[in-house]
């Protein structure tokens, strides 16, 4: 097993281990969880070398293999996931309340980490889609972790619905790419064939849709702020640094395929810039620190999408630099907000001020991270913002103007974030500096943001690890402090001036924002669409499924008569001769017919059940006659259990009612049952004529040699078609659960233990030393 496979598999294995041990380890589970990311961190040692490739065969016949491809970009991203994942796990150790269900939290977190690593490393298109969906599912679980709160449930559902929409789009896109490119592997697609294919434009549009939903681009940005219901380490890990960047990753990787079309950058650059400006505008309005960061993430994702959307060497270079910077400062800021929440019990900007005295370490971290976000020297954010402006200038002055507007708003909300540290100390409860468990992860990330600013050569080296994979090796530019007097520098100066004006005139800006608040927003339309869909679904169900059982039966029989009749009419079947009927079959047939007629005539449920059993036992006998003892035995037992279950159910049903039939309806019913009988007979007779050579001789010949069993039926079940059996028994298990749930439905159940949502939300006080 290679290192990449281990990096993806270990988080899943550790998730199971954490779930098992959480009861004993308590909050220390987080330390165990952090170990799961060790292989991902070790991948850092492979970044310089050749492209790695690891293949685990799965279903090779269907082109389904777990192929991990470690090019520079994927490995860089994987290491990033490893770093943030480790820090988030360690941060959670101190952050979470003692009453948190660690046995759920860490497994979910690790399952997410494994899915995300799989997503960035996977080269197989189907596996890429599967990992993409798994990140959606784990994100749903993590957002809904505190599911006693309705806002957490709503946020989880919203995030899931929107990313599921994107998931469906991605499935269609990768299917089209695989068909057009003639390979199930991303790296082996025939790009010329893809570009010439009529599926090119649909695949492109679907990819854009998938990326936009996952990376919270307009108008799908609405799920990200409500996803902040998740615990803060989750927000830092999933909703700022990794999962939301899956869409960005898609734009970056698939950009190599789609960038020949002007549609690609024509869609993505305006979309990204619009998201950047609108997200920043909304961020400035927030009073909740976490919501501010959420909208800021939306805005920064827009920036990244626009840069990768440009799809030239310069754009990819700038985007990759900013990707690293953003991961560092945004995760650090989330950790800072977590500390503030932890120590003061609130995240409301209006209730907090002067925290720098109480939280000096956090203050320094926050200043470094926020200044990097605002794009001020000497931090990493400044360098990537320069590159961003440079790229946008090459797109056109208008693009630069929009980018500068977004940058100024970013500057303003970064300042707003820092306002909680200035002025007189005020907080709902007296804050103390958080312990090392909370400050160290934040400080490490802020230190990285600072280091990337102070040492541009290092930043460039990091960025250039992705140059082969993303085809920007030819780009000659470098990361420097001083590029000379360029339009980008002018843009930066304008940004600072505008930003400073916004900060200086903050109350006026706020009033303006309130006046400009649109009455309609994306959230309202989401609710509207959801309500409409629900109404439509219940109407359709009520019209088609809510009928009385006889009506339902008439409908389905009528429909199958129509479809089957059409098929027979189009292609008349040549039916084989029946041959001779063996004498001993006659009593069995009589038994079956008697049972069926008896059921139809019976006026009592008990009689009906017993008579139904008669047909079942008759079938068993006919199996015996055809020398199929296994089938007969199975039929016999199934029939027995069925009769028992019927009897158990019928205890509660009212007696049989005679539904009044009109003469016309009686005629219709007779016609329908005659048609059904004719259809069933035709079907059986048609199946007697073999269209292909039967496969049964193969089983007869091989069951002893290959499966070591003399009972061919059993060998087929457990060996040749064992996978089918596995699926079937899974269905049996699910059915048992479902029936159990249905029987209990409406009974007074156990109420979930009362959980004080506020207590859970506000993390517990630190442990006593």
């Amino acid at each position: 097993m290679g290192l990449m496979t281990a990096a993806v598999a270990l988080p899943f294995l550790m998730a199971a281990l954490c779930a098992a041990l959480a009861g004993r380890l308590g909050r220390a589970t987080g330390v165990l969880a952090a170990l799961a990311f060790v292989p991902a961190l070790l991948l850092a040692s492979r970044t310089g070398g050749e492209t790695l490739s690891e293949t685990t065969r799965w279903v090779p016949d269907l082109g389904l293999n777990l192929v991990f491809r470690g090019d520079g970009f994927s490995l860089m991203f994987a290491v990033l996931i490893g770093v943030i994942g480790t820090l988030a796990s360690l941060y959670s150790v101190t952050y979470l309340s003692d009453r948190e269900r660690f046995g759920r939290f860490y497994p979910y977190l690790l399952a997410f980490g494994g899915s995300m690593l799989g997503l960035v490393l996977s080269d197989n298109l189907a596996a890429l889609f599967a990992f993409w969906e798994m990140t959606s599912v784990t994100s749903f679980l993590l957002i809904g972790l505190w599911h006693t709160r309705s806002s957490a449930r709503d946020g989880a559902v919203k995030a899931f619905l929107i990313s599921a929409l994107g998931g469906v789009a991605l499935l269609a896109a990768v299917a089209m790419l695989g068909l057009a490119g003639g390979s199930a592997q991303l790296s082996q697609l025939d790009l010329d064939a893809v570009r010439a294919s009529p599926l090119f434009v649909p695949a492109l549009l679907l990819t854009v849709l998938a990326a936009a939903t996952k990376s919270a681009q307009l108008p799908f940005h609405l799920w990200l702020p409500t996803a902040m219901e998740a615990p803060t380490p989750v927000s830092a890990f999933l909703h700022s640094a990794t999962m939301v960047k899956a869409g960005v990753l898609l734009v970056a990787k698939f950009g190599l395929i789609f960038s020949v079309s002007p549609l690609w950058s024509g869609l993505l650059v305006p979309l990204g810039l619009a998201t950047m400006v609108w997200g920043a505008w909304l961020a400035l309005r927030q009073n909740d620190l976490k919501a501010l960061l959420a909208y800021s993430t939306v805005s920064q994702l827009g920036l990244l999408v626009s840069l990768y959307g440009v799809a030239d060497a310069e754009g990819r270079f700038a985007a990759t630099t900013h990707l690293l910077n953003h991961a560092a400062f945004k995760a650090a800021l989330f950790f800072v907000v977590g500390i503030i929440d932890h120590e003061t019990g609130t995240r409301d900007v209006r209730r907090l001020s002067g925290l720098r005295r109480a939280l000096p370490v956090t203050f320094v971290v926050a200043v470094l991270a926020a200044l990097s976000m605002a794009g001020l020297p000497p931090l990493g954010g400044f360098l990537s913002k320069e590159l961003f402006y440079e790229t946008m200038w090459h797109q056109g002055p208008l693009f630069l103007a929009v980018a500068v507007a977004g940058g100024a708003l970013t500057f303003a909300y970064s300042a707003r974030l820092l306002r909680v540290f200035t002025g007189e100390l005020s907080a709902p409860k007296v804050p103390h500096e958080a312990g090392a468990g909370l400050t160290v992860p934040a400080a490490l990330l802020a230190g990285a943001a600072l280091l990337m600013g102070l040492w541009p050569a290092l930043t460039e080296t990091l960025t250039r690890t992705a140059q082969e994979a993303l085809a920007f090796a030819s780009y000659g530019g470098h990361i420097r402090w001083w590029h000379g007097v360029t339009p980008a520098l002018l843009g930066t100066l304008v940004t600072w001036a505008l930003g400073a004006a916004l900060v200086w005139q903050a109350p006026a800006a706020q009033r303006l924002q309130e006046r400009l608040t649109p009455r309609w927003n994306a959230n309202l339309s989401y609710v509207l669409i959801l309500t409409l869909l629900n109404t439509l679904a219940s109407r359709v169900t009520a019209r088609t499924q809510g009928l009385a059982l006889p009506d339902q039966l008439r409908l389905s029989l009528g429909a199958s008569a129509l479809i089957g009749g059409y098929a027979v009419w189009q292609a008349p079947q040549v039916l084989p001769r029946l041959g001779t009927v063996p004498l001993e079959a006659l009593p069995v047939a009589a038994l079956l017919v008697a049972g069926a007629v008896g059921v139809a005539l019976s006026r009592n449920r008990l009689t009906a059940v017993v008579l139904t059993g008669l047909t079942g036992f008759g079938s068993a006998v006919s199996f015996l006659l055809m020398r199929a003892p296994d089938l007969a035995l199975t039929q016999l037992l199934v029939e027995t259990v069925t009769v028992i279950l019927f009897l158990l159910v019928f205890r509660f049903l009212p007696g049989v009612r005679d539904l009044p039939r009109t003469r016309g309806r009686l005629g219709l019913d007779l016609l329908l049952s005659a048609a059904a009988a004719a259809g069933a007979t035709l079907l059986v007779m048609a199946s007697l004529r073999f269209l292909a050579p039967p496969i049964s001789p193969y089983y007869l010949l091989n069951s002893y040699k290959e499966g070591g069993g003399k009972n061919v039926v059993n060998v087929i079940l457990v060996d040749f078609r064992g996978f089918d059996t596995l699926g079937e028994i899974t269905v049996v298990a699910v059915v048992a659960l479902a029936v159990g749930a249905l029987v209990r439905l409406g009974r007074p159940g156990q109420a979930p233990p009362e959980v004080d949502a506020e207590q859970l939300a506000a993390p517990a006080p630190r442990r006593k030393p």
Partner: protein, 171 residues
């Protein structure tokens, strides 16, 4: 809650009449003849079950059939004696069965062969003569556990329903 609920929980049900115990034909101990006969029948059927499961690879039988037969035997026992012969809810064996079947298939896969590829061999001992072992039997035991557990779960849930119990949406 119905009187039968305590029977399903299984610990020591007869000694603990529920506060809201209502008559329920299937959980009140009824016919003594049935009870006596059911004991012998129960033992015989369970023996037959074991035989069917064991010989399934080479003769009619197998996990599915054995599972259904076990379910029948236990339902009979439950109806005759008013309490369950198991001291755990039958649903608990279902995940174990699924895990067993799944991992039986996983082992050959991890050894580089096809998923669920079964293996078999022959061992000769002086006492039993030639004796065949097959990994397929483990898979079949998983099937057995799932089928028996699921059928019993459904049956017990239905037995536990008290027809006179009012539920939320009743009018």
């Amino acid at each position: 809650m119905s009187g039968g609920r305590k029977g399903r929980a299984g610990k020591r049900p007869a000694a603990r009449p529920g506060p809201a115990a209502r008559p329920n034909a299937l959980t009140d101990v009824g016919d003594p003849v049935l009870r006596v006969v059911s004991r012998a029948a129960f033992a015989l059927v369970m023996l037959l079950t074991a035989l069917l499961l064991w010989r399934g690879h080479n003769a009619p039988g197998g996990g599915f059939i054995a599972g259904l037969m076990t379910a029948c035997a236990l339902i009979l026992h439950r109806v005759a004696n008013g309490r369950c012969a198991l001291n755990f809810p039958p649903l608990t064996v279902v995940p174990w069965g699924l895990a067993l079947s799944f991992t039986t298939g996983l082992v050959p896969y991890l050894l580089g062969r096809a998923y669920l590829k079964s293996d078999y061999g022959y061992v000769s001992t002086p006492l039993t003569g030639e004796f065949e072992w097959a990994t397929a039997l483990l898979f079949d035991v998983g099937v057995y556990l799932i089928v028996a557990g699921s059928a019993l779960h459904i049956a017990y849930e239905l037995i536990d329903v008290n027809p006179r119990e009012r539920v939320e949406d009743d009018r």
